[in-house]
């Protein structure tokens, strides 16, 4: 019954050693992602979400110290050498970024870049690879795909480039896709197209996806499970409906109620006071406690462990786990335009 999960991470820690102290970017993250499932890592800047993602593929600079067990698609990432890593990257595990020009080389055409990746990983001939590239461009819904094969990245618009990058990432049928804020820099009408595309591709290819974002709405649209990250730890991890509907950690609850979504117009926002902790000098206890309405002595004593608040729902708040506090349920407002005709609730458009 327990087939091996595509992603299995145990107690991941990442430290950056620098001249001004050691930055504890990731402090004990453990999670698993099953085949065909989407996990969203939700957090603000400095929470460690991008570092976590890059640590999975060992894409961090040399001064980063990575500890912990990482298994991706059956490979033990810590044990692989450089050649082994190159095999996994782009092959079994692919990554897409916020800025497509990170992934796309400006001096080669899209077609060449995709074909080259396929040839490199699967050893087929260039002609076969080019035909596959064409199929991929059609799969990501780039219009006039045949013409676009011969285009350079700068000749494409932002949304097109994002799709080209996705095509490149999917060229070798990865079992796992890592997405680092791929929609953050996009206009809202393009963002929803890319979200829908990713959702469809994920279903069609039965890929596991880890999607890093700071946008709650985007996380809700794509994820089966959401992990909320703060100061290098997962403070909550659970199915999307429960994390959003009844959050089990004060940070999640505060995040959801403090944003403009959670407030009625014109009313004062319940902003979370203060600032995230300095990663060079984390507090001894719960890292959110200084800003938490419910923090008390026990919270300051030691870092709260991961409690099983409900089956498949984890929280690092000992007061919530003990049932002492009831967190407010966020009222995330209704959609204003055509929700009933657009969504799974009903109607046609």
């Amino acid at each position: 019954m327990q087939q091996e999960q595509v992603v299995s991470v145990d107690d991941l820690k990442v430290r950056f050693v620098g001249r001004e102290g050691t930055v504890a970017a990731v402090n004990g993250v453990s999670f698993g992602v099953g085949a065909g499932k989407v996990l969203a890592i939700l957090g603000e800047s400095g929470s460690g979400k991008s570092v976590t993602l890059r640590a999975l593929l060992r894409l961090l600079p040399a001064r980063a110290r990575i500890e912990g067990r990482i298994r991706l698609a059956g490979h033990d990432m810590a044990a692989l050498d450089e050649a082994g890593l190159r095999q996994v990257r782009g092959g079994k595990v692919a990554m897409i970024f916020q800025e497509p020009m990170i992934a796309l080389d400006p001096v080669f055409t899209i077609g060449v870049q995709i074909a080259e990746t396929i040839v490199r990983h699967e050893g087929v001939s260039y002609q076969v690879a080019t035909r596959r590239a064409l199929e991929l461009l059609e799969m990501v819904q780039i219009p006039s795909a045949a013409r676009r094969l011969k285009s350079y990245p700068h000749e494409l618009s932002g949304g097109m480039r994002q799709r080209a990058m996705i095509a490149l990432a999917l060229s070798c049928r990865p079992a796992l896709l890592l997405a680092d804020e791929p929609t953050t820099a996009l206009d809202v009408t393009v963002q929803i197209q890319i979200i829908l595309l990713l959702r469809q591709l994920q279903r069609d290819l039965d890929m596991a996806v880890i999607f890093v974002t700071h946008d709650v709405g985007v996380a809700v649209e794509v994820a089966d499970e959401i992990a909320v990250m703060y100061a290098g730890r997962f403070v909550e991890l659970g199915p999307t409906e429960t994390v959003i509907g009844s959050p089990a950690h004060p940070y999640t609850a505060a995040l959801l109620t403090s944003t403009v979504l959670g407030s009625a117009f014109g009313k004062r926002l319940e902003a979370i006071p203060g600032m995230p902790p300095d990663l060079r000098a984390l507090p001894q206890g719960c890292s959110f406690e200084p800003r938490c309405r419910f923090g008390d002595e026990r919270c300051r004593g030691a870092v709260p462990p991961a409690f099983a608040h409900a089956p498949a729902h984890m929280t690092r708040c000992l007061r919530v786990a003990a049932g002492e506090i009831a967190l407010p349920r966020p009222n995330l407002g209704e959609r204003s335009v055509g929700p009933s005709s657009q969504n799974s609730g009903g109607g046609q458009r």
Binding site: E270, A271, P273, G274, M275, D278, A281, P290, R291
Partner: protein, 300 residues
């Protein structure tokens, strides 16, 4: 408001935990420089050199101009002349120290003058834009088209040799690159948001220049200029070597190199010494300017 007060308290305590009050950019550069051992060593060497050439009489025994046929081309380590003597019998150590005055003068002054003139024109062109910019930059391009050594040779060829003309020729050679760098840096700075904000507050161009442009562009321009000193020292020595720079009997490293050429087979170590000196000085300036550039490249 309670939450805001709590926020402020949290803000304040975090802030106090970290850096000291208001560390300005130059202070950070200074601190980074102090960490950079190589640059410190190199700067110390240069400072020592400067002190020695300024207070030359204190560091030398013999007169650099008095020669003795009997004591020609003595090798290194001779009693009384620890670096030997040159082809006319003058003490090499004295000539090196006194020669340092000329070489350093001819190496640093042109860059300094070029910095003043070129920096002014470049910043003006970069800030003004438009027609003024085009005029200045195209004139610079014309001058730039000449290879610097040939330009220097041409000018001294016309004007004659001597320290003053050497400095003049080298200054003219270095003005174009400084104009170019200054214009480039100023033009980039001018488009940054904070300059727009300063314009949006209704400030006049000169005020903006004074408070927002100069303090941001002078640093990089200065660093670039220091990197030119090492080149200038070599060029000055080269001009003297060719007989177009400082004239005998003045001591100057390039001139000494030329004069000692024939002695290369007789006393190679002595003949090579001025060259070694040029090399060391130029290299030190180079490393110092590199260190300065790295220290100023402060990332957040």
């Amino acid at each position: 408001m309670m939450a805001e007060a709590a926020a402020l308290r949290v803000d304040a305590s975090l802030v106090l935990q970290r850096a000291q009050q208001g560390k300005s950019y130059w202070r950070r550069v200074w601190e980074r420089l102090l960490d950079d051992k190589l640059t410190l060593v190199v700067t110390a060497v240069l400072l020592l050199l400067l002190v020695m050439v300024l207070f030359a009489p204190w560091f030398t025994v013999h007169d650099p101009y008095t020669g003795s046929v009997l004591r020609r081309l003595k090798p290194v380590g001779t009693l009384g002349h620890w670096l030997g003597t040159d082809e006319v019998g003058r003490d090499l150590w004295s000539r090196m120290v006194y020669g340092g005055r000329m070489s350093l003068l001819a190496g640093v002054v042109p860059v300094f003058l070029a910095l003043l003139i070129g920096g002014f024109l470049g910043i003006l062109a970069g800030y003004a834009g438009g027609f003024l910019n085009s005029t200045i930059m195209r004139l610079t391009d014309v001058l730039y088209a000449f290879p610097s050594i040939l330009l220097a040779i041409a000018i001294t060829g016309i004007l004659g040799s001597g320290l003053k003309n050497t400095i003049l020729a080298l200054t003219i050679s270095f003005i174009p690159p400084i104009i170019r760098i200054s214009e480039s840096i100023t033009a980039q700075t001018r488009h940054l948001d904070f300059v727009e904000a300063a314009r949006a507050s209704g400030a006049r161009p000169l005020t903006i220049m004074r408070y927002h442009i100069l303090n941001n562009v002078l640093g990089p321009i200065l660093v670039y200029a220091t990197s030119l000193i090492s080149i200038c020292i070599i060029l000055a020595a080269g001009l003297s070597f060719l007989g177009l720079g400082v004239t005998p009997p003045s001591a100057e490293w390039g001139l000494m190199l030329n004069n000692l050429r024939q002695a290369l087979w007789v006393s190679p170590l002595v003949a090579a010494l001025p060259g070694v000196m040029i090399f060391i000085t130029s290299m030190c300036f180079n490393l110092m300017s590199d260190g300065l550039r790295q220290a100023m490249d402060v990332r957040l």
